[in-house]
Amino acid sequence: MLHVLAQVDTFNTPAIQWYAVVPELLLVGGALVLMVVAALSPKPLPAGTYAWATVVIAAATLVDAAFLWSDVQDSGPKSIIAGALGLDGFAVFFMVLTCVALILGSLFADSQLRRSGIDGCEPYVLMLLAGTGAIVMASANDLIVLFLGLETLSIALYVLAASDLRRRESQEASIKYFVLGGMSSAFLLYGIALVYGATGSTNLTTIQQFLADNVLLENGLMLAGLALLLVGLGFKVAAVPFHTWVPDVYQGSPTPITGFMASAAKAAAFAALLRAFYVGFAAYQHDWKPVIWVLAVLSMLVGSVLAIIQTDVKRMLAYSSVSHAGFILVGVEAASAQGTAAALFYALAYTFMVLGSFAIVALVGPASDGTHDISTFRGLSSRRPVLALTFTVFLLAQAGVPLTSGFFAKFYVISAAVDTKSYALAVIAMVSAVIAAFLYLRLIVAMYLSEPEGEAAPRGPKVSVPAAAALGLALAVAFTVIVGIDPSAVIDFAHDAVPVLVAGP
């Protein structure tokens, strides 16, 4: 056997830069170890073990991302594993974002999932795998690798959505997400095929070079490919008109999982959108920018307006996440370094806000995690003043009030739009920010101004805040407020993280 293997090696295996894929390996390896340990242990592990293990794995990945960041700053961006992945500031930015979402997500999920009767390692293992997919998507230098990351992320999320086995809505959310997500993946894949047909490559670096050097005489194939890619990615970022799955899926999934979906999954889809369109298809800017323009306007307006008329808080936040996707699309539409940095800043700020918001919705809601009617928030300020204040910070940040990270997030995307002379888009963004503000104020009013009437009126359930969730909320509030006062560190980080494509060796 051995002498056969020792024969001359004629198959050229790609050089693998192991140090650059350590984040992915850490997350996948951690997920596998967690799964096997949980399966082999004869007794159930103490409560919270899985969540804290996930936090440790994600924190280790975060530390490694810091090393990769300094490596990228020192020796410049590079392309690794035969051009399949790119290692640049952009990829590291989304590693950081994904790890933040994993840490906060598992801190919030810990007690909440147990409270609604979901035990076991599965949600955490799947979250880690979804995080891996998100990182692969953000660093993908090749459309096929991008698709691979997207599927890793999506399949884990389909299962996560169904992780509440006792609630029908959770199953319903999963099957809706799965069927519609499968459709959108098919669109994306067909788009990749058409772009390959038009350019002769799936590698974004090669595509960018090809489009810069050649003018396609018959570009119908290319345009159809771009359109299909936009449909596939538009579905994942939940832009109108591809948003119809969002309210049902966000409402049905277990609440901590919803927060993870709205942060990591959305951000990863934006990463793919930015890398493929802003850099890869830069030559076709004039064709895809108007489409993004329409998507951004529709998402902002439809998301804000539909959010206002909801009575369920989770549906409200779901529609508001659609409108936030619209705001990030404003940054994408600018197709400038400034706009991209603004979109990155927005995605990171939104990660903290949305995870915190959904965590509080979960804490205040009933143990069954079933309905989250706005009336459960009535008089929260007198029952749990600190929790009400925390929620207020997140809501004001989402509304874009100064002294919160949300203000700078909106400010940067709108000023990026103004700088590229998209005045109409900037005005529409400001108008829809005002519309959306009404929604957040409605929740704040419910918490502070409307007491349950009389003694007979049922007070909401007793709200307790476990230590892990409190730690997560403290982190999220600290980020939201500190960045709201001094955003310079984070916006510099975002400016250094604008994607670049480097040809493989």
Binding site: L5, F11, M35, V36
Partner: protein
């Protein structure tokens, strides 16, 4: 028609050929065969045994897990067979790659086993 599109001309030709083939075969059959209807012939064919129950009967949900595991290991075989024919070419690198792949799948089986999925109870 451009040269590019002409390359795809084969696709509609194949579709037409497929439709025509089915039409011709069924047509010849219906022209040649004797026509003697009887109720026994209308019964669904179940390997020669008289059919039991109706066609829409539910199958046990327990089979689902086995079906799932079967698909996983079926797909594994799809990857392993082509790899095995080229093992010498891939060398140690290929061996390690497949080792990693199989170990990850085996961990999945281990998990399924510990979760009691393989027990028929």
């Amino acid at each position: 028609m451009s040269q590019f599109l002409r390359g795809y001309l084969l696709v509609p030709i194949f579709i037409l050929a497929a439709v025509a083939l089915v039409a011709v075969l069924l047509g010849i059959g219906s022209l040649l065969r004797p026509r003697k209807p009887n109720p026994q012939k209308a019964i669904p064919y179940e390997s020669g045994v008289d059919p039991v129950g109706d066609g829409w009967s539910q199958s046990q949900v327990r089979y689902y897990v086995f079906a799932l595991l079967f698909v996983i290991f079926d797909v594994e075989a799809v990857f392993i067979f082509p790899w095995a024919t080229q093992l010498e070419l891939y060398g140690t690198f290929g061996l390690m790659e497949m080792f990693v792949f199989i170990v990850i799948l085996a961990l999945g089986l281990l998990y399924a086993w510990r979760k009691g999925v393989l027990r028929w109870a």
